[in-house]
């Protein structure tokens, strides 16, 4: 054995030759540079092309402010609802056995597999003025399509798997023993939930919240269909960017885009930070399980 290993190179048998490694790393980095770094830098250079004054003027424009306000409002409604749904769904799936559990798991993913434009169309067909339900609502003075409620609904639809998807595996891996222990020690349902369940899933919860928020603010397709593009009323930031661009107001378009880009960067940073916190929780679970075994 010893004499044999002396003759062979030190590289273990499973490692790739250096040429392959360098090639793969180069390709990966080149892709990131081409599709991520250059566009991001372009957004900011274009946004600042006419100077800082023009940049802030573009953002301070009443229509821009209306778009920002609508985007924030939409996220403020959609995100808490999704987190509530995410907790309820993951709780149900991780803790109970019920008929249709697999179906529910599959259905949660539908917004991921359906094109957002089709999702938007679906709401128009269901709630538009010419549809029975939409017509009835319109008769009672409730407008959904081409109004803010439609935008919120479409946003909820496209984001709703995000929190649930994140929470289900965490709930499952944490298990219910600690919750049972809390109950035996005399805790009520809400005490158990806030003192034991939430702290155990909090990093996953925040992670899901960040993802959900990013998607809610950045959604274009579904929202575009239901919005009607009424300036100053039903334009979210992504829609407003498109309008500016079509009006050849490139600097303004990029100025608003830069806000969304900053959101993306902040999301990425939060995701990175939270992702590092989620994994230790899972790790600790495994360690505990190992000790137990």
């Amino acid at each position: 054995m010893a004499s044999q290993s002396e003759g062979t190179p030190k590289r273990p048998g499973t490692a790739d030759p250096p040429a392959v490694r360098i090639a793969l790393i180069t390709i990966a980095l080149a892709f990131v540079a081409l599709f991520i770094f250059i566009p991001v830098i372009a957004v900011f250079t274009e946004a600042l092309r006419n100077g800082l004054g023009a940049y802030f003027a573009a953002i301070a424009d009443p229509e821009a402010r209306a778009a920002i306000r609508l985007t924030l409002m939409t996220a403020a409604i959609a995100v808490p609802l999704n987190v509530t749904f995410g907790i309820a769904a993951s709780w149900a799936i991780a803790r109970f056995d019920f008929p249709g559990k697999q179906t529910l798991l599959t259905l949660i993913d539908i917004p991921f597999s359906v094109s957002p434009v089709i999702a938007g169309m679906l709401f128009v067909l269901l709630l538009g003025v010419r549809a029975p339900l939409g017509g009835w609502l319109a008769d009672h003075g409730i407008r959904i399509i081409f109004a803010e409620p439609g935008i919120v609904l479409a946003t909820i639809f496209v984001t709703f798997p995000l929190a649930a998807r994140e929470l289900i595996p965490i709930m499952q891996s944490v298990g219910s023993e600690e919750e049972e222990a809390a109950i035996v020690l005399g805790a009520g349902g809400w005490q158990m939930f806030f003192r034991v369940t939430v702290p155990n899933i909090k990093w996953g919860l925040l992670y899901g919240l960040v993802l959900c928020n990013a998607r809610a603010m950045g959604e274009f397709g579904a929202v575009s269909v239901v919005s009607g593009h009424i300036r100053g009323h039903t334009n979210t930031m992504p829609l407003y960017v498109e309008i500016l661009y079509n009006d050849f107001q490139f600097a303004a378009a990029f100025a608003v885009s830069s806000l969304l880009t900053l959101l993306a960067i902040a999301t990425l940073a939060a995701k990175y930070y939270l992702g590092r916190r989620v994994i230790p929780v899972k790790q600790e679970q495994d360690d505990l399980a190992k000790v137990a075994a």
């Binding site: 035996v184 020690l185 005399g186 009520g188 003192r195 702290p199 155990n200 000790v291 137990a292 075994a293």
Partner: protein, 357 residues
């Protein structure tokens, strides 16, 4: 507080976990539920705690029906097999939990909580770890924190699910003795589940041997070990040799050698002929070099292991069954056994156990 279980049954789908169990546990007793996994012992414990609802039957605490009492009001302490410590709380906060979730009127003041927590941590000899998190503790320490946390709510009944299952042998020994002493001190009615017969025999006042959701025998360590109610109990408590034989005219035949049924613990009917299983513990067989007029069976030595307090000899009986025998080192010196030696096995009187099948 005494516990009465009356006609308790519980199914999970088609699986009968607990099958019509009746059991009374007296105040201050330390009872072991002993059985293999799947015997229903943990389910029974969870039913006592209120974590599972029985399909039929009732649980009485101190003579009163506890079915309508919710888990959180039952005043039971439950120590989970994997301890279920709150991983995001320090040891101190874990122990304080039961006091912190009390309704505001009953909740002790912070100073009182701290005093109680430290008192309990001293009781389990872990006061110096109050600021640690569960992940920073060893298995044995986690176990004791779990116990302190449970005792903090002053339970009337202490229930422990495989309390030493996840610990290594040495720690297990220590904790076992420690728990015994603790029980002697605080005299709380306790029930623990175990699959380890040695643990049950050493720790419990009374042992409930369970098998397939039913109780096979209830008794003291002495009773279940020396007077097993049936073959299962005998087989389960300690090592046994199992021989297949047949009953003919009041005698059990093993190969060509017959044993008088009168000389055995038996549930077999002497008038019914048929197959029988015969059990005998390794230390209740003697090896002799010549038949000496008493009951003996021919056998051949296969292997000898002299390491340990007793010499373990493995033999093949004349009728083909493998036989394990434990003899003293002194006896081993006298016999001068070697592999392949032809010897005779002589049961020490009255200790054969015959079961008709």
């Amino acid at each position: 507080m005494s516990i009465d279980l009356r006609n308790i049954s519980k199914r999970f789908g088609d699986f009968v976990a607990v099958d019509n169990i009746n059991l009374r546990i007296e105040t201050g007793e330390l009872v072991a539920l002993l059985g293999l996994s799947g015997s229903g012992k943990t389910t029974l414990l969870r039913i006592i705690a209120g974590l599972e609802t029985p399909d039929t039957g009732e649980v009485l605490f101190h003579g009163e029906d506890a079915s309508a009492v919710s888990v959180r009001k039952r005043k039971v302490g439950f120590v989970f097999q994997h301890y279920a410590l709150f991983r995001h709380m320090t040891v101190f906060e874990n122990v304080a939990f039961g006091m912190r979730v009390l309704p505001r009127r009953e909740r002790p003041a912070e100073a009182e909580v701290a005093r109680r927590v430290h008192e309990l941590l001293k009781l389990v000899q872990l006061d110096f770890l109050a600021d640690r998190y569960p992940s920073q503790l060893s298995g044995g320490q986690r176990q004791r924190v779990a116990l302190a946390r449970t005792l903090a709510v002053e339970p009337k009944v202490l229930l422990l699910d495989e309390p030493f299952g996840a610990l290594d042998a040495k720690v297990r020994q220590e904790l076992r003795r420690w728990l015994r002493r603790l029980h002697d001190e605080i005299k709380i009615t306790s029930v623990f589940v175990t699959h380890d017969q040695e643990e049950a025999l050493e720790l419990a006042n009374r042992i409930v041997v369970m098998n397939q959701g039913r109780i096979e025998q209830i008794g003291s360590a002495e009773e279940v070990y020396h007077h097993p109610a049936n073959a299962f109990v005998y087989n389960f408590l300690g090592n046994v040799n199992l021989f297949h034989g047949r009953i003919e005219n009041g005698r059990v035949f093993l190969g060509d050698t017959a044993v008088e049924l009168e000389n055995t613990h038996t549930h077999a009917h002497p008038d019914e002929n048929g197959k029988a299983v015969l059990y005998v513990r390794p230390h209740l067989l003697e090896i002799v070099l010549k038949p000496n007029g008493k009951q003996t069976f021919p056998a051949t030595v296969k292997s000898i292991n002299p390491a340990g307090p007793q010499v373990k000899v493995e033999l093949v009986a004349e009728w083909g069954d493998m036989v394990q025998v434990e003899i003293s080192h002194e006896r081993y010196e006298v016999l001068r056994l070697e592999n392949g030696a032809h010897v005779f096995l002589q049961p020490k009187e009255q200790k054969l156990f015959v079961y008709q099948i």
